[in-house]
């Protein structure tokens, strides 16, 4: 198909053709190709438009460091910002270029390039300031957002991802030469080992270049397959391929993402990616190095690529990006590319080196001379030129003369950096190496070992020594690896960060960050404006703030800054590399904790009955609670609640209260303990009685409420609110352990052990007597606020006479496994008396009529018992209880605190709403002083109109006066402030 194919490649399956679409045009690649290698095979070099200036861009690299080649994968829920240099193609894949309109070739946004002189560093900060503060939000930002940027977020998105936790002894990051040797030496040791590599082929540099000709007298390929087989056969080492370590947290906690569909279309409902969460005792970083680029005029043109990437396309993907390329380098890393090209029968169009002839490796020098390759030593590229692709370069030679070379391709090498991102994430420190001109790991903070080029060890001949020294802590046998190299084993480099252009115009651009379109001019400007600290400079210019985090360029920026400031690079420092190493999807992070498993669901033992009987559910914390029970599909919530409420007041209703928290408390000092936890005093309470109780925070604010049943001085059962169950138990445990460890007291949560069935209404007694005929429910035998233990068909149950509705009522506590049976019995026995189930909404309405509060609705953490008018619940004679002292703080005794009151609209046809503010003035003038707000509001079927509870300033003394409720339409409704009780003020019903 293409003359650019190197068909002897072992990784690409040239017999398996794959068709895919890029911007609507069909292309063919082969099994094993990335999008980039397949498009290069088709001689396509323009892949996208840049972020800010919409400049045409091509493939700059052959890996994860790629700044330019980000594409949108239409066939995968329109996944944006995918790196074309790592994403493998599959049959039918649809790809689109990003950030261009109407097309990649003709992009209207590229007009930004012409206006670029007005977009300097800090442009947005300086420009979009006026004329009015709304201009930013309403005009500037929407326009900028539309013009700038990366891909489009997918609209419909449902990727499946799982998490997998690992606990291992040793984790090796990177399965290249060093990673494989390290893993091999750990075979059949006592350690559990995880070997992680991002590629689907282990081998790293051995696959990506021709630097190593043989390993232990085997071809690299043979050595790799033999070594991998040995590792795979071992019992203690697990290999994760296609897995990228993105994060290195404290205590050797690594996060890695595995792509489960490399080179094939992700299947729906199958796991697309796995997020590995790895806890390990020791990390061995063998994640190699990254080549840097160089800055000169128009160093972003399509057709410019890094040297080692070019070689990787040849060796790893069997494609020649160009048959005639010019090479420009300042270091020895380019040698291998020259070697590889010549080996394949090609040769560079020219070789340009900033070093002088005697500093160039003699092998390289000879190779170039022998093959008649035009050689420019002591020379630099002043600029690259072309329309949407590279067409020519200008070279300044050692004599100062400028030569024009026509070429469509240029390979660059500006040096190499150990890939220190993970090492710095682990909080290890770097040190600048003046000889190799790069930052290298210097001091680890965690148990981290770095090997090979990841540790800054660029000398292949030192491999045995380094591994044997650093892995000696594992007691492994010393390794002896023999390598045959094609290039000089020592890395050599001469300083060069930027070549200044021949002629500087306002349109000249030498890029320092390709993804964010930052130029060296922006760096200079930032420094001249005083942003000379590297972290400030980064944020001001956005240098290295793209999704590639400046992997090929951030060190160059440091070099330029250090020269400008005349400081050592170590003094300039680096910015902090933060996780993740490369972007990962939210789907991977969320894992299965999404959609149906977004939050764990709790169900009452009677749940299935509610479903069968058509309940509409409400989420209360994690519980699913019946909200109301519509009798048919036409009944609205309002209608259902009015009907249910009326029925409880006239006949009887039954509520599933199983979600209430229940705590059993026992111990020799249980009484003393309960007296300390709750505001009430339980000392004089008789066994078998119960009491409504309040729990405060130490700040005196109401935290929870419930009913306390006293079995004896040594044994209590407390109920809590549904939402407060865990907090209350936690609080009791905390105080028992930390403040009063001398008290002998124990507690168990019995929330889930017992279902709670609440029956209330005037006909309750008729029903309950029928269900439990052996129990005497008369007022004398079973008074209000007492409880009794009984047996029901061998099941021990507890019946508490209490009410949250204002009607006479009982709460029946039944072991959960028997709950459904008893519930159904109550329902069937109650039918003749008009018993109906009711939900939480009716419960809220009924309790509000009676003036009973809901903690968290009528209180908000700033309300004391005194504010609620519940002074009677405070055991004043008690020396201490949680929050007692706070009740006499100057703030809590203030007169103008917000206090609970009732609210009634003067005109009974008016409707109030929760959250409405109560104000004094009929006309709303801004600002209007607010008295407080409505916390609960319902339409009462009994009263026939709206009523509300509210907390308002100095409310208790305002009872009997008029005020106004404000509506969202800025109208007001006249209201009366009344006592917070609307039903049975005499409490005659409770004890009837």
């Amino acid at each position: 198909m293409s003359e650019l194919n190197l068909t002897d490649n072992k990784f690409i399956q040239f017999h398996q053709k794959i068709g895919f679409k890029f911007d609507g045009v069909k292309y063919y690649g082969y099994k094993g190709d990335t999008i980039a290698s397949a498009l290069l095979r088709n001689n396509l070099k323009l892949i996208g438009r840049s972020f800010k200036y919409h400049r045409p861009r091509g493939f700059y690299t052959c890996g994860i460091e790629e700044p330019n080649a980000l594409v949108q994968i239409i066939s995968e829920y329109s996944e944006p910002n995918t790196r074309a240099t790592i994403k493998k193609i599959y049959e039918g894949m649809e790809i689109e270029s990003q950030n261009r309109w109407p097309s990649l070739e003709t992009d209207i946004g590229s007009i930004n390039n012409i206006f670029s002189p007005v977009f300097p560093a800090g442009f947005y900060y300086k420009t979009f300031m006026g004329p009015h503060k709304n201009f930013w939000k309403k005009i500037y930002e929407p326009i900028i957002r539309k013009a700038a940027g990366l891909g489009k977020p997918p609209k419909e998105f449902k990727a499946v991802s799982t998490h997998l936790h690992h606990n291992v002894d040793i984790t090796i990051v990177g399965g290249g030469l060093n990673g494989l040797i390290a893993a091999k030496s750990l075979i059949d040791t006592k350690y559990s080992v995880l070997l992680i590599d991002f590629d689907d082929q282990l081998g790293g540099i051995l696959n990506n270049s021709n630097k190593v000709l043989s390993v232990n007298n085997q071809t690299p390929m043979d050595w790799i397959s033999e070594t991998v087989k040995e590792i795979e056969n071992s019992k203690n080492i697990k290999i994760l391929k296609n897995t990228l370590v993105t994060t290195y947290n404290y205590i050797n906690h690594l996060i890695a993402v595995e792509d489960k569909f490399v080179g094939s279309r992700p299947l729906k409902d199958k796991v697309n990616s796995t997020l590995h969460k790895i806890r390990t005792d020791q990390v061995i970083l063998c994640n190699g190095h990254i080549e840097r680029f160089l800055s000169f005029q128009n160093n972003d043109l399509p057709g410019i690529m890094l040297c080692s990437s070019f070689e990787k396309y040849m060796c790893r993907y069997g494609v020649l990006p160009s048959k005639e390329t010019v090479i420009f380098s300042n270091n020895s890393n380019s040698e291998s590319l020259v070697f590889s090209l010549i080996k394949k029968g090609f040769k560079p169009k020219a070789y340009i080196d900033s070093r002088s002839g005697e500093n160039i490796e003699p092998d390289l020098f000879d190779l170039i001379r022998k093959n008649d390759i035009p050689l420019y030593t002591n020379s630099q590229i002043k600029g690259a030129y072309g329309n949407k692709k590279l067409q020519k370069i200008l070279v300044e030679d050692s004599s100062g003369g400028v030569n024009e070379i026509k070429t469509d391709f240029l390979c660059l090498s500006g040096g190499i950096n150990p890939d220190v991102h993970l090492f710095t994430q682990s909080k290890g420190l770097l040190d600048w190496d003046e000889k190799d001109l790069t930052y290298k790991p210097a001091q680890a903070f965690q148990p981290t070992i770095t090997l090979g080029s990841a540790s800054g060890q660029f000398d292949f001949n030192a491999i045995n020594k380094e591994i044997n020294e650093k892995l000696v802590i594992f007691g492994i046998k010393p390794v002896q690896i023999k390598l045959e190299l094609n290039t000089s084993h020592k890395f050599k480099i001469e300083k060069l960060w930027e070549v200044l252009p021949q002629k500087q115009t306002i349109w000249s651009k030498s890029f320092i960050d390709l993804q964010n379109d930052v130029t060296t001019k922006d760096i200079r400007q930032a420094i001249s404006e005083g942003f000379d600290r590297i972290e400030h400079l980064k944020r001001y210019t956005t240098n290295s703030m793209g999704t590639d985090q400046g992997k090929i360029s951030s060190i160059n920026a440091l070099g330029i800054v250090s020269d400008l400031l005349d400081k050592k690079v170590n003094e300039v420092g680096t910015t902090i590399y933060r996780p993740p190493y490369a972007p990962l999807s939210f789907a991977a992070i969320a894992g299965r904790n999404s959609y149906e498993y977004y939050d764990p669901e709790r169900k009452s033992p009677i749940h299935n009955w509610h479903i069968t009987n058509g309940a509409v559910f409400e989420d209360v914390v994690q519980w699913k609670r019946p909200w109301y029970f519509p009798i048919n599909k036409d009944e609205t919530m309002d209608e259902a609640v009015q009907r249910e409420s009326k029925n409880v007041r006239e006949n009887a209703g039954v509520l599933d209260g199983s979600t209430l928290g229940k705590i059993e408390i026992k111990g020799r000092d249980a009484l003393a303990f309960m007296n300390l936890i709750y505001t009430n005093s339980f000392s004089k309470m008789k066994p078998g009685t119960s009491r409504y109780a309040l729990m405060l925070g130490e700040d005196g604010m109401v935290k929870d409420d419930g009913i306390i049943c006293k079995i004896s001085d040594e044994h209590f059962i407390a109920t809590t609110t549904t939402g407060g169950a865990a907090t209350v138990l936690g609080c009791m445990e905390e105080y028992a352990q930390t403040e009063w460890p001398n008290l002998n007291v124990y507690m168990n949560s019995i929330t889930e052990q017992y279902a709670t069935i609440n029956i209330s209404g005037p006909k309750t007694r008729n029903i309950i007597e029928k269900v439990f005929p052996e129990v005497n429910f008369s007022n004398e035998a079973f008074p209000f606020m007492t409880f009794q233990f009984h047996e029901y068909e061998d099941t021990p149950i507890r019946i508490l006479r209490a009410s949250f509705t204002g009607e006479m009522g009982y709460e029946i506590y039944v072991p959960s496994n028997q709950a459904l049976k008893i519930w159904e019995k109550i329902i069937s026995f109650g039918k003749e008396f008009g018993l109906m189930p009711y939900g939480t909404e009716t419960m809220h309405l009924l309790r509000a009529e009676k003036g009973y509060i809901i903690v968290g609705q009528d209180t908000d953490g700033s309300i004391t018992p005194l504010d609620l008018g519940l002074d009677w619940m405070i055991g004043k004679s008690k020396k201490d209880f949680l929050g007692k002292r706070s009740l006499i703080r100057s703030d809590t005794v203030r007169k103008d605190r917000k206090q609970l009151v009732g609210i009634l609209p003067t005109n009974k046809n008016e409707k109030l709403e929760e959250g409405q503010h109560i104000i004094l003035d009929k006309e709303i003038k801004t600002p209007t002083p607010m008295l407080g707000h409505i916390t609960s509001c319902y339409q009462s079927p009994t009263l026939g109109h709206n009523f509300a509870l509210a907390v308002i300033k100095n409310g208790q003394s305002l009872i009997g006066t008029k005020a106004f409720a404000s509506t969202p339409e800025l109208k007001t409704i006249e209201v009366e402030i009344v006592e917070p009780i609307f039903y049975d003020k005499e409490n005659s019903k409770l004890a009837s």
Binding site: H165, E664, G667, Y746, P815, S816
Partner: protein
């Protein structure tokens, strides 16, 4: 006992077992009461499990022992046993039979699949046979008992449908 799933090298069964949770300081009185009632001396090491033909008795926390019944006993006898423990005012014995659901998990891939749901370190050096632990699994509180050949997992009853779904999901995905 109900089969939940058997696939991919893991077998999960759902069990309702009688269970009593005991709270105490663990003094000699407590040991005496328990030993007399169960013919089993409560473990004093935290997280240690002792068993006999009838019971699994695990020390789950500094003041907590879980007593799981291997086979159900008659209701009357069970409540009598609870009462025996509760006679002492410094012991709290709570019947939590209806409060928790057990999942018996076995098979070669058991821990690997459980590690899709929990960070817990199941390696033998960290989680020895006949020890127990309380941890988070699928973001809910669970107790796990390592009975050497099989893992017993328990969660609150209200979460059991959720956990069952998550376990099946983890096995299938």
């Amino acid at each position: 006992m109900k089969d939940v799933i058997r696939s991919n090298g893991i077998e999960i069964k759902k069990i309702i077992s009688q269970q009593i949770v005991l709270r105490s300081s663990g003094n000699s009185d407590f040991n005496g009461v328990v030993n007399k009632a169960l013919k089993l001396l409560p473990p004093s090491d935290n997280l240690r499990i002792v068993t006999n033909d009838n019971f699994i008795l695990a020390k789950m926390s500094f003041d907590q022992w879980n007593l799981v019944f291997k086979k159900d006993i008659e209701q009357k006898k069970f409540h009598k046993l609870c009462d025996t423990f509760n006679k002492s005012s410094s012991i709290l014995a709570t019947n939590l039979t209806d409060s928790q659901i057990f999942f018996q998990v076995g098979g070669d891939n058991a821990t690997m699949i459980l590690n899709k749901l929990t960070h817990f370190d199941f390696r033998e050096k960290s989680f020895k046979p006949f020890t127990a632990a309380q941890t988070l699994l699928a973001r809910i509180d669970c107790s796990i008992f390592n009975l050497d050949n099989v893992i017993l997992l328990s969660c609150g009853r209200s979460f059991s449908d959720y956990l069952e779904d998550r376990l099946i999901d983890a096995v299938n995905l």
